[in-house]
Symmetry: C2
Subunit: 228 residues, 2 copies
């Protein structure tokens, strides 16, 4: 239930904004399951608002592929298709490669220190969920160090679908994926080193291969699970 603003002083977040964030969280976390049908009126009732802000929220969710519309105008929680994951991974690799290069060129010393600290904070005792959250944080720190606001927003759009995909299948995948998780960690280390060395070209190349490899590894682990 979204809190209704009672005495809004200046410019608070709009109801559409709140609804967007709430629904996005529910989809990514898996509370709303892939393929599940959504209707404007039901969502409006459940969140305690009118259909108008719900429509706006749904439009944004559609833009980042978290929902999809059928040919008969039905609204469904997006099915994480491997095809789309591939499409988006290629895009993410391109965009995050650029952000790594810009970060190497533009990051402040403070930002580099924060990146290094986050990298150093990884431990083997983390749960898969924790490790994934830390990886996400590391990537976001690098993105922000690019100092390109438009790029940051676009990466967020491109990766929303990824997170839904991954979080939804964490339990099955990570048991077998621990080896590759270590490999990913080593890749993070190389990227961080390239950033500190201000080597934009190396950072870009490493980041691209890292993103592409991570999705490859993820899909392999999932395939192993499915055939076991």
């Amino acid at each position: 239930m979204i809190a209704r603003p009672q005495q809004v002083l200046s410019t608070g977040p709009t109801l559409a904004d709140q609804a967007y964030r709430a629904l996005r969280e529910e989809i990514i976390s898996g509370k709303l399951k892939p393929g599940e049908r959504l209707t404007e009126r039901h969502l409006a009732t459940r969140l305690g608002v009118s259909p108008t802000p719900i429509r706006e929220a749904l439009q944004r969710l559609e833009h980042e592929h978290l929902i999809q519309r059928t040919d008969t105008r039905r609204i469904l929680v997006a099915e994480p298709s491997v095809h789309r994951l591939y499409e988006l991974t290629v895009i993410e690799a391109g965009l995050r490669g650029v952000s790594a290069r810009l970060a190497a060129e533009n990051a402040s010393e403070r930002e580099l220190a924060a990146i290094e600290a986050t990298y150093a904070g990884f431990t083997d005792t983390m749960t898969p969920e924790e490790a994934l959250a830390e990886a996400r944080k590391l990537h976001e720190l690098i993105d922000h160090a690019s100092h390109n606001e438009t790029l940051i927003a676009m990466i967020a759009t491109a990766t929303a679908f990824d997170w839904q995909f991954r979080l939804g299948t964490i339990p099955e995948v990570f048991g077998e994926g621990r080896k590759t998780a270590r490999a990913r960690h080593r890749e993070h280390g190389k990227i961080v080193a390239a950033l500190i060395a201000r080597d934009g070209q190396a950072a870009e190349k490493l980041m691209r291969e890292h993103i592409l490899g991570a999705t490859e590894g993820f899909l392999h682990a999932r395939a192993d699970r499915d055939t076991s």
Copy 2:
């Protein structure tokens, strides 16, 4: 004025969709001038629809940076700032680099032939507007040859702002930019050759440098104009 659907048989484009396209065209063509204020009600009246679909159209336009909202919730036609043009150019270079690489790998023979034909269609007798339209077509053909629908959509979003910027300043720029226009044409030739050779790495590198160089050249030409 948008035609009101009278007897819509099946599923036609929605009014919001039509409003979006109409407003987008007006902004890019310069009929709506940068900085001009827009209000939902006036647009609704002018286009002959209610404010509801207008709101949806405005939301989409905001997403591609063709309009911007002030801190007091006013809606303005976006001012083409050089800062944002730089931000978007870096993104476009990254995305179009990826699309060029994918096109080299995935394009059908038919698509390659169309690309080559469009490239061969350039002539020195074209007006600046014609040349720009042809260049746009060439890039779009390459984008589509990537066979990555999500990437294509994202490039369209990232480049909408560019076109507003460029078309709005064509007359001033192109008088002095004819030399660089020839340089751009040679770059196009190298890219097309790389695609035909199925050399994805070369196509990506050439495309990136081409995009970045084109914006550089554009800004230089504009600077020359401003100081003359």
